[in-house]
Amino acid sequence: MNCEATKCQCGCDQETDQQKYEKIAEIIAKYKNQAGSLIQVLHAAQNIYGYLPLELQRFIAAGMDKPLAEVSGVITFYSFFSTQPKGKHTIRVCMGTACYVRGGKKLVDRLEDILKVQVGETTEDRKYTLDIARCIGACGLAPAMMIDDVVYKQVNPDKLETILAKY
C-alpha cells in the first residue's frame, strides 16, 4: 500500500474519518461470518476510532447484520468499551473501599468541578477523561488516583490543580 495515500491531506498526520471507517469495514468483512466475533470487531473498531459513537455502532451493526440494540448492549456490558471520545489523558480516581473511606469521593467531586465534566466524560478540549477505578493497590496510602500510568497517593483535593498543571 502506498503510505502517502493513507495520510490525511492537510498534513496533520492523522487519518480521516473516512479512512478509519474503511479500515473498520475491512475488519468487518473479515469477521462477518464468524460466530461470536462481534466483540473482536468492536475492539478493533475502538482501537482505530478511539471510541464507539452511535454512528459507528450503526455502521458495525449494518455490516455485521446484527440489530443495533444488540451491538449497543454488548458495548455497555463491557467496561473497556467507550461510547465517549477519550481524552489525551485518563484520570482514574480510586473508589475502592479504603480510598472511598478516606476521601475518594471528594477527589471525584473536585475533579468534576475543575474539569467541568461528569465521571465517564471527556473535557471539551479532549485533554482529560475522568473515570473511576476499583482498588488500584495503594490502599495504605489512600486516597489514590492515576493519571495514565502514574499513580498519585494520599492526594489532597487542594493539590489537584497543581497535579493537573503538569499535563
Binding site: 452511535l54 440489530p67 443495533l68 440494540a69 451491538v71 449497543s72 448492549g73
Partner: protein, 586 residues
C-alpha cells in the same frame, strides 16, 4: 425417555425435558416468572428453584434438564423460603405504584406474590431510576422492569426487529434501546408483541383512555366508535369468559352505555378495503400486461406495523405497498365526510375512536398521510386491553347486558371480513373478489376457506390461473396469478428482499406484522397461550361461516355506499378518501 422422581412420584419424560416441563406434564405447576412456555427461557427470576437430591444448590427448574434417576422436590421448606427471598429481591428494585399502574390486577408479579405468600416487602433496596420513554404506540417504564427479558426474545428472535436488548450489567442492567434512544427514533415497528409478553407494567401501550373519556364528556362532540371481530372474540378474556367467546353484541350495548353515539363495525369497512384493493391490483396488472411499468407485487397495507417496518428497512420500496387505507381509517374517513354530511353535522364535532387489537394503529393515525381536510381520519385508538379497563372503570357488567346490533350504515359485513384478523384472510378475500370481477364466476373454493393459505405457518404461497375472463379482462387470459402470505417480520424480510433484488415471483403479497395476524395483535388481552389463540381463531372461523353474505362484493352496505357516494371503486372520490400515498416519516 428418562425416569426420575418428582415429589416422591416416579415419572417418565422424554430426553432433554426441563424439570419444570417434566413437572408440568405430571400436573405440578412450579412457580415461574421469567420463563414463557414455547417462547423464552433465560433463568433470571429464580422463582422456579427446586431441590435436587445430591446437588448442593437449588436448581432453576426452567433451565435444568432432567437426568436419569434424579430425585426432585418442588415444595420443601427450603425451596419455599428461597423463592420468597428471590421474589422480595425482585420487588425491591421495582417501582411499586400498583394502584396507579395500568396492569394492576393483571400483573404476573402481583399474582406471584400472592401465590408465594409474601405479605410484606422486606428489602426496601436501592432502586435504579430510569426515565419513562413514551412513543405514540408504546410506553416503556423501566422502573417497573424485572429483567425477565421476554421482550428481548420476542423483539429479536420472534419479530426479528431487534430494537431492545439488555444493556450494562449487574445492578445497573437495564433493557434498553441502543444508546438509550427513544423508541420513536429507532426501528421499532410498534407491533406491540413485547407488550403482550411483559409480565408487569414495564412495556405497555401508550394510554389514550383519558382522551377518550374527555371526548365522551364533551357535549359538543359526536363520538363514533368502531371495532372489529378480533376484538370481540378476545375481550371476554379480560372478564373471565371462556377464551373465544364472541361478545360483539354485548360490546355494542356496553359502548352505548358508556356514551358513544355511533357504534360501527370495522368489518363492514373491511369489505370496502377488499373491493378497493382488488381494483388496485387489477389496475397494476393491466398496466404491466400492456407492457408499461407498475409496481408489482402489490403488497397489502392493512397492517400498520408492517408499513412502519418497510419505512424503516425498505424506504425505497414503499411504492409497492397498496395505497388502500386499512379498514378503520376508511371508516374514519367516511364517518368524517359522507356520514357527517348525511347527518348534517359539523366536521370538527365528529370524534372517531377505533378499538383495535393493535398498538401500531396508535402511531398510524398520527401520520399526515392518514388525514383528509386537515383532520385525522381517526382521532384515538384504544387497544382491546384499554377498552376493557374503561368498561371496568365504568362499572358496567358485561354479563348482564343484552345483545345489540351495530349502527347503520356500517353494520353488516361479509363472512370473509371475519377472517380479516387471521393471517391469509385479506388474501382469500382479495383473490376471490378479483377472480369474480375478472371471470364473473365464483372462485371455486369451498366457501372461501382456502385452507392451503390460511392458518399458522409463517410463509405460504399459491397460484391461481385465470381462464375465460370477461371481455374487459382479456389481458389476463391464461395468466397465472401468484400470491404469498406471511405474518411476523421474518417472512416479511424474505419477501421484501426478493422485491429489492427484483426477484419476486409474486403479483400480490399479504403481510401481517403480528405472528398469526391481528387476532394475536399487540393490543390483545394477556397473558396469551397457544390454547387461547386457538380458541380465538375457532370463534372467528365460526362467525365467518355463520354469515349470510360470504363475499365482500356482495355486502349491500358497500354497494349502497358506492351508489350513493363513492360512485365506483377507485373513483376520484374513493381515491381521495380511501387511498393514500405512503411516505417516510421525517
Amino acid at each position: 425417555m428418562i425416569n426420575l422422581t418428582i415429589n416422591n412420584k416416579s415419572v417418565c419424560v422424554p430426553d432433554s425435558t426441563t424439570i419444570l416441563e417434566a413437572a408440568k406434564q405430571n400436573n405440578i405447576d412450579i412457580p415461574h416468572l421469567c420463563y414463557l412456555e414455547g417462547v423464552h427461557k433465560f433463568g433470571s427470576c429464580r422463582l422456579c428453584v427446586v431441590e435436587v437430591e445430591g446437588v448442593k444448590n437449588l436448581q432453576a427448574s426452567c433451565m435444568a434438564e432432567v437426568r436419569e434417576g434424579m430425585v426432585v422436590h418442588t415444595n420443601t421448606e427450603k425451596v419455599r423460603k428461597v423463592r420468597k427471598n428471590n421474589y422480595e429481591l425482585l420487588l425491591s428494585n421495582h417501582l411499586q405504584d400498583c394502584p396507579s399502574c395500568e396492569t394492576n390486577k393483571n400483573c404476573e408479579l402481583q399474582d406471584m406474590g400472592v401465590r408465594l405468600g409474601v405479605t410484606e416487602a422486606r428489602f426496601a433496596g436501592k432502586t435504579t431510576v430510569s426515565k419513562v420513554d413514551i412513543s405514540p404506540s408504546i410506553t416503556r417504564d423501566m422502573n417497573k422492569c424485572i429483567l425477565c427479558r421476554r421482550c428481548v426474545t420476542v423483539c429479536n428472535d420472534i419479530q426479528n426487529v431487534g430494537v431492545l436488548s439488555a444493556h450494562n450489567r449487574g445492578f445497573s442492567t437495564v433493557i434498553n434501546t441502543a444508546m438509550d434512544l427513544p423508541l420513536n427514533t429507532v426501528d421499532c415497528t410498534y407491533c406491540g408483541q413485547c407488550t403482550v409478553v411483559c409480565p408487569v407494567g414495564a412495556i405497555k401501550e401508550t394510554d389514550e383512555i383519558h382522551n377518550v373519556w374527555q371526548a365522551l364528556s364533551d357535549k359538543n362532540k359526536r363520538v363514533v366508535v368502531q371495532l372489529s371481530s378480533a376484538v370481540s372474540v378476545a375481550i371476554g378474556e379480560e372478564f373471565g369468559y371462556e377464551p373465544g367467546t364472541p361478545l360483539a353484541g354485548e360490546l355494542v350495548s356496553c359502548l352505548r352505555e358508556m356514551g358513544f353515539d355511533d357504534i360501527f363495525n370495522t368489518n363492514a369497512a373491511f369489505d370496502l378495503t377488499v373491493v378497493e384493493q382488488s381494483t388496485e391490483l387489477l389496475n397494476r396488472l393491466k398496466t404491466t400486461q400492456a407492457g408499461n411499468e407498475a409496481k408489482l407485487p402489490l403488497v397489502t397495507s392493512c397492517c400498520s406495523s408492517f408499513i412502519k417496518y418497510v419505512e424503516n428497512k425498505y424506504p425505497e420500496e414503499l411504492d409497492y405497498i397498496s395505497t388502500t387505507k386499512s379498514p378503520d381509517l376508511m371508516l374514519g374517513a367516511l364517518a368524517k365526510s359522507h356520514y357527517t354530511e348525511k347527518m348534517n353535522m359539523n366536521l370538527s364535532e365528529t370524534y372517531v375512536v377505533s378499538v383495535m387489537p393493535c398498538t401500531a394503529k396508535k402511531f398510524e393515525i398520527t401520520r399526515p398521510e392518514m388525514q383528509n381536510n386537515g383532520l385525522p381520519n381517526v382521532d384515538a385508538v384504544l387497544t382491546t386491553r384499554e377498552v376493557a379497563r374503561m368498561i371496568k372503570e365504568a362499572g358496567i357488567d358485561l354479563r348482564n347486558l343484552s345483545k345489540n346490533q351495530f349502527d347503520q350504515p356500517f353494520s353488516l359485513s361479509s363472512g370473509a371480513a371475519e377472517l380479516f384478523g387471521v393471517t391469509g384472510g385479506v388474501m382469500q378475500a382479495t383473490l376471490s373478489t378479483v377472480y369474480e370481477m375478472v371471470t364473473g364466476r365464483e372462485l371455486p373454493f369451498n366457501k372461501l376457506q382456502v385452507t392451503s393459505i390460511a392458518g399458522f405457518d409463517q410463509t405460504m404461497d399459491m397460484e391461481l390461473k385465470i381462464e375465460n375472463p370477461l371481455e374487459a379482462y382479456q389481458y389476463l387470459d391464461g395468466v397465472t396469478i401468484k400470491v404469498a402470505v406471511t405474518s411476523g417480520f421474518r417472512g416479511a424480510e424474505f419477501l421484501m428482499n426478493q422485491i429489492v433484488k427484483g426477484e419476486s415471483p409474486y403479483h400480490f403479497i399479504e403481510v401481517m406484522g403480528c405472528p398469526g395476524g391481528c387476532v394475536n395483535g399487540g393490543g390483545q388481552p394477556r397473558p396469551l397461550t397457544l390454547e387461547i389463540l386457538q380458541k380465538r381463531l375457532e370463534a372467528l372461523y365460526g362467525q365467518s361461516e355463520g354469515k349470510a353474505t360470504s363475499k365482500p362484493n356482495d355486502n349491500e352496505v358497500i354497494s349502497a355506499l358506492y351508489k350513493e357516494y363513492l360512485q365506483e371503486p377507485y373513483s376520484p372520490r374513493a381515491q381521495e378518501l380511501l387511498h393514500t400515498q405512503h411516505r417516510k416519516t421525517v
